[in-house]
Each structure stands twice: as C-alpha cells, then as structure tokens.
Amino acid sequence: MKLFKIFKNGIINDNPIFVQLIGMCSTLAVTTSVSNGLAMGLAVVAVLMGSNLVISLLRNSTPEKIRIPAFVIVIATFVTIVEMFMKAYAQPIYQALGIFLPLIVVNCIIFARAEAFAFKNGPVASLIDGLGMGLGYTLALVTLSTVREIFGAGSFFGIPLFGESFQPAGILVMPPGAFIVLGILIGIFNVARRKKATSEI
C-alpha cells in the first residue's frame, strides 16, 4: 500500500512538472511533437529508475561528504548508456532529442529524487519512486506535446489530422507556445487536483 502511495505521489501529488515545476528546460524544448515528448519521458524513466536503484543500494557505503559527486557519476553513467542504446536502436528519436538527451545528466528531477528519496530509502521504494516520478514527467510531456503538435502542426505522432486547408497555429510549436500551453495545463491540473483533495476530506 505504501509503495502505491509513493507511485501515485510521483504521478499526481508531487508531479515533477505540474506541481514541483522542476526540469522545465528540457520540458519546454522537446515537446514540439508527441514522439519526442514520449521518447524523452521514457529516457528519463529509464535513467531515474536506474539511478534511484543504484544510489539507494550504495547509500550506506557512500560517505555523506561525497554524495553529490557520487550521484553525478551514477547518473552520468546511466545517461550515457541510454544515449548509446538510443543511438544504436532508435536513431530518429536520438536525432530529434539532440542535446537534451545528454543533458538529462543535469536534469534536476533526477538529482532531486536521488537526494530527497533514494539516499534515504530502500531499493524497492526507490525504484517505485523513480518509476512514479518518471511516469509523472512522461505524462506531463505527452500532454503538453499532444496539445502543441495537434494545434501547432496539425498532426499527431506525425500523422496529419486535418485536411490541406487547416492552418496550424505555428506559434504553439515555437518557444512562446511552450510557455503558453504549459501555463494553461498547470492551471487545469492543479484545479483538478485541489478539487479532488477537498472532496476526499
């Protein structure tokens, strides 16, 4: 039951994008198409689960003083592995994500979970936390990129949805559109979350 709560925390109550508002840079940049958003989300899930697990397993043998550089080494290792495998087996996505894939190393979601959760909790809980937080991040990215791609480019997963006459709102796939859509989504998400919280009381 506790594990389910940890999992749900990552997706809803402590959603890294909609509630904690961390890891914004890559979120704003990669969500121009759904396939990019989904791929970035899954890459973060993989790195987050791996780093949370390893950091949790090593937490008793890692001295407090050097925990930060130790985190960096663990996280960078996982990111590099994900990068190599994506380059070999999912090249179009690897190209689309560009610089943001290696930059997962400094993504604060992963750092925050290492410091706030994995270093203080057991491996199973940490793994679940990584999965929950990662899926919460993926959910936010997919929602954001769905809105941006449908209205900004007139397609979904690259498949055109409307006829030739459809004029997409190009601003949505450009940087200002990322801020506009993200702002609206954060508003909706939090209103819904609060409504649910009050009804539960």
């Binding site: 121009t32 890692t62 080494i73 960078a76 592995i81 190599m84 190009g170």
Partner: protein, 181 residues
C-alpha cells in the same frame, strides 16, 4: 588527511566501475551505430543518383586535402556507373536555425545538382523540419552549378532555408574547384 584519501579512493572506485560499465555498453552498441551511419549515407546516395549507381569514398589523399581546406566537409563520395564517374556527393555541415544541419548534395559531372538530402537536423517541427520533405529537396534537382544556387524559401523557415543554401553552395564551390574537371 587520512579521511580525504579515503574519500578520494571511494570516488575513484565509483569512476572505475562506471568506466567498466560504459566500456561494455559501448562495445555492445558501436558496431550497430557505425552500420546505421553507413546505411544512412548509402540510402541517401541511392535516392539522389538512382539504384543502379555504385558508390565509393573519394580517394583518401584528395579527400583529406579537401577536408583540411574546408572543415565543414564530412565525407565525399564518387558515384560510378560501370567504370566511369557520373557524379560526386558531398556530405557537409551547415548552420541551421536550431543547430547543425548535416547535408548531402549530389552533383552530376555535367554541372547540375542531382539531388539534396537533409540527413540530420534539429529544426522546429512543422517549420524548418519540413526541409527534409521531397517538396523542398526536389527544388534543388537540375539546378546549374555555374551560379549561386537559390530556391524558394520554406515559409516560416527562412533561417533553415538559408542554412541549407549556405551548405549546398559551399559544396557547390568545392565541386567546381576540386572535382568537376
């Protein structure tokens, strides 16, 4: 002092393990990555010159000499029909709107463009990313290499178009000065 040494050794162990893990995964993926890169180039070459044409990298000394003078050039291929050279393809890097563009431009030996492909880019989807589509790349086919190459810009993506044109024209200059005779 003793503690510092201990911490250093612990971190050292972390990095050694990390390096080992990375070496293993590098070994597992590097063959596949090289294969994909080669397949990408050959695929683009066949689209540009047609299926019957054979390709080989330009003779190494000449290729290195050109690359030294033009650092944006990545690779040059010769297109062969039987034993005779029918054209050249130049793979080079240009600056797009969202980052580097990797382009492949094919030239027929008679001085026309046989085709152009955007191999890698990080342009905006719906705008600059349309530079990959045949509707745009076909605009280059048959243009003469005697003058500066220009095409109608992609609407909303002038920056990308200019980047592609800069790359194609620098390839054109290399073709004219080094390869065409």
């Amino acid at each position: 002092m003793k503690e510092t040494l201990k911490l250093g050794i612990i971190l050292f162990v972390f990095t050694v393990v990390s390096a080992g893990v990375l070496a293993v995964s590098n070994n597992a993926t590097k063959g596949k990555i090289a294969e994909l890169e080669m397949a990408g180039s050959i695929g683009a070459l066949q689209e540009i010159f047609g299926e019957d044409v054979k390709f080989q990298p330009l003779e190494e000394n000449k290729q290195n000499q050109i690359i030294e003078a033009n650092p944006s050039v990545v690779e040059i291929f010769e297109a062969l029909n039987g034993d005779s050279v029918v054209g050249y393809a130049i793979k080079n890097i240009s600056k797009g709107f969202g980052g580097d563009l990797l382009l492949m431009t094919g030239f027929n030996i008679d001085g026309t463009v046989s085709g152009m492909r955007v191999l890698e880019h990080s342009e905006t989807p719906g705008l600059g990313a349309r530079s990959e589509e045949p509707e745009f790349t076909n605009r280059f086919i048959g243009l003469s290499t005697a003058d500066d190459i220009t095409v109608e810009a992609l609407s909303g993506a002038t920056g990308t178009t200019n980047g592609v044109l800069a790359g194609v024209n620098s390839a054109r200059e290399i073709f004219n000065s080094e390869l065409s005779n």
